[in-house]
């Protein structure tokens, strides 16, 4: 099994045109085997681009094709509206890879979904997307670095480190059930905890790799969740041990975060929760190979 997406996932690409990023990535996803069933573009309804039927709105695309996931890579100024449009059209899973959305728009879109469209899960923004190897790839992950068959589920906050994690495991012959890039923006639609809970519930996922980075407190919250609710082994790597100290955002930042947010604090919290904490991506891959071997 996999989480959030599988071979039955039908994707509508929002904002498609012959020159759009959406088409470029949508075609790569289709070439991987993903069912890309529709595109949207208010000015091109009724057209067909590279064999993908185009509709003016997401609602029309859903009605005509039964699309149950959407893929958004439109520019930042349009992205928040695109997310809300997909949710309003009843799409249960929305992947937004757009980088650079104003934080205010992101916070507003997230809270609108929570309130008005609780049936929609948003992944991202500013994330690489999701891949269930051999079944479905939505986003910008290179399909050939993933390996089908499990037993590892990956969740990562960082784009390129997500690829690195996939690569380290595949190189060692360890497959993945699903790899989720949740993105590093201030208000991610899907959290570490959402993914940990889904992997815990997925019978085919038998171990979990979690890649974090400095800033915020998402890793510390994930550690608490792992301690209380995750029975499967977890291997983690947190990037940024040697990163330059970030800008301190006035007194407010110091008041909120306290000592949280540093890589060391995150690693300590994860280790405390029983997680195997690695010091670089390669070490994480090797640790996971050991874990998988011991699963029997």
């Amino acid at each position: 099994m996999s989480i959030f997406v599988d071979e039955n996932t039908k994707v509508v690409v929002q904002g498609i045109s012959p020159t759009s990023q959406g088409l470029y990535h949508g075609l790569r996803n289709r070439a991987y085997g993903t069912q890309v069933v529709a595109g949207t573009n208010p000015k091109r309804g009724g057209e067909e681009i590279e064999g993908i039927p185009v509709y003016a709105t997401v609602a029309e695309a859903v009605q005509a094709t039964g699309a149950n996931a959407s893929f958004i890579s439109v520019p930042p100024k349009f992205a928040a509206d695109a997310i809300v449009e997909a949710a309003a059209a009843g799409v249960p899973f929305v992947v937004c890879i757009t980088e650079g959305i104003p934080a205010q728009d992101e916070a507003l879109a997230y809270n609108r979904l929570v309130r008005d469209f609780p049936g929609t899960r948003l992944l991202g923004p500013n994330c690489p997307g999701i891949i269930s190897p051999g079944k479905c790839n939505i986003g910008i992950t290179s399909g050939d670095i993933a390996m089908p068959g499990g037993p590892v589920g990956i969740v990562s906050r960082s784009g390129t480190l997500t690829y690195q994690a996939l690569h380290e495991l595949s190189q060692q012959g360890v497959g993945q059930t699903t790899c989720v890039g949740i993105g590093g923006d201030p208000v991610p639609g899907t959290s570490f905890i959402d993914c940990l809970a889904a992997f815990e519930a997925d019978p085919d996922t038998r171990a979990i790799m979690m890649i974090g980075e400095i800033g915020g407190s998402a890793e510390e919250e994930a550690a608490e969740f792992i301690a209380s609710s995750v029975t499967k082994p977890v291997v983690s790597y947190v990037a940024g041990v040697t990163a330059p100290a970030g800008r301190k955002m006035g007194h407010a930042g110091a008041i909120i975060s306290g000592s949280k947010g540093t890589a060391q604090a995150k690693m300590d919290a994860l280790a405390e929760a029983g997680v195997t904490v690695a010091h670089n991506p390669t070490e994480a891959g090797e640790a996971m190979v050991d874990v998988v071997r011991n699963l029997g």
Binding site: R115, S142, S156, S158, G240, A252
Partner: protein
């Protein structure tokens, strides 16, 4: 982007938040003119983006023209924690009955806006947060609802602001929230927010961080763009649109994605080396970007080797490889380059580079191998 105090106050003023009468001055004569306009006594305040100005002698009260000349002359050029004062803010001095604290920022955990308000404002607010957290009244604002005057009124009462300040404070907080949301701030903070003996509430300081992602809809931010970067390398990088942070080591770093760039720093460190910089070239690593990145790193005399760590997603590795070669045609690079290329079109990328490899341009199969090589080329463990 962090604003100077004077810019933050001017930004507040756009949203109707009361500030003291004052203006900027870059010379002693200008300071005198601003003081005359604001009315004595005045406060002469150093404009630097660093805390602890008062303790460093960067904030002085002046009662007449001679005192303005004296203080302005002393503060201009003053070095406050490596920030040299080039500009002053001169404002009418307020009598202070009470100092409060108010701010809005995003609570990443709650995924809502967070307002913090305290009747115990002033320079010790962080201390208050630790020793007496109950003295800070917080409010979570759902961005869908916004902050109503009713909610703000309840909030100021809960924060136990003085009775005579509450009505004005509630109105001011609604304006501050509007400034924070419509003004696209990551942080809008007033410390202190004061109550004067005459019973007026207004902002005596301003700490504003703008969300760079929203710059496209704020043409008025142009005037804030600026001159406050101290590190010459960072200035050069900024001119080229690169996400660069200067460090003090000897291995130059180029990576795509902030996470991988941070991880590259970690790995270089674990191999016994030290990074000269953090540089994330992002998604579009074409020849121009790569040339610009190599130029910036090359201009740092401390760099002894350069580690290019690319994992292709959107970035196609064959494009990166072409970019590196084109960049080498354009720029004379004084340090050896170690490449580690993986991901989308990695094979094609390696083929492009194969004929060009030498002891000045080395390819390694893994991130760890490349880090070890780069550290060795930089002179080994430092």
């Amino acid at each position: 982007m962090d604003l100077f105090e004077y810019q933050g106050k001017q930004y507040f003023a756009r949203f109707g938040i009361p500030i003291s009468k004052g203006g900027v001055a870059d010379t002693v004569d200008e300071a005198v003119a601003q003081a005359e306009a604001a009315g004595y006594p005045v406060v002469v305040k150093a404009q630097v983006k660093v805390g602890g100005r008062g303790k460093a002698g960067g904030v002085k009260v002046a009662n007449d023209v001679d005192e303005v000349r004296l203080h302005a002359g002393n503060i201009l050029g003053l070095d406050i924690k490596s920030h040299v004062v080039k500009r002053l803010w001169v404002e009418h001095a307020s009598d202070i009955a009470k100092e409060y604290y108010a701010s809005f920022t995003l609570d990443r955990s709650a995924k809502k806006h967070l307002g913090m308000l305290s009747a115990e404002g002033g320079v010790e607010i962080e201390e208050v947060a630790v020793t007496n957290p109950d003295a800070i009244a917080i409010i979570h604002v759902d961005p869908v609802d916004g902050l109503s005057l009713e909610a703000a009124t309840e909030w100021v009462a809960r924060a136990q602001l003085d009775e005579e300040a509450r009505e004005q404070a509630a109105e001011l907080l609604v304006k501050l929230y509007t400034c924070y949301t419509e003004g696209d701030c990551d942080l809008a903070e007033i410390n202190p927010l004061i109550l004067t003996p005459e019973g007026r509430v207004h902002a005596l300081d301003a700490k504003v961080t703008l969300d760079d992602n929203a710059a496209y809809r704020h043409p008025e931010w142009e005037e804030f763009a600026g001159s406050d970067v101290e590190d010459e390398r960072e200035t050069r990088a900024k001119e080229r649109g690169l996400n660069y942070i200067g460090l003090s080591g000897s291995v130059g770093i180029i990576a795509n994605g902030a996470g991988l760039a941070m991880s590259t720093l970690d790995v270089v460190n674990q191999c016994g080396g030290t990074a000269a910089n953090f540089l994330d070239i992002g998604g579009g690593a074409n020849a121009d970007v790569m040339a610009a990145a190599l130029e910036v790193i090359n201009s740092d005399p401390a760099v002894k080797s350069i580690f290019v760590n690319i994992f292709g997603g959107i970035t196609r590795v064959d494009e990166v490889a072409k970019g590196v070669l084109e960049a080498l045609d354009r720029v004379e690079i004084s340090s050896p380059i170690v490449l580690r290329l993986d991901g989308t079109n990695a094979e094609a990328g390696r083929e492009i580079l194969a004929a060009h490899l030498s002891d000045r341009l080395v390819a390694e199969p893994t991130m760890l191998d490349a880090a070890r090589r780069a550290v060795a080329l930089a002179g080994g463990k430092s």
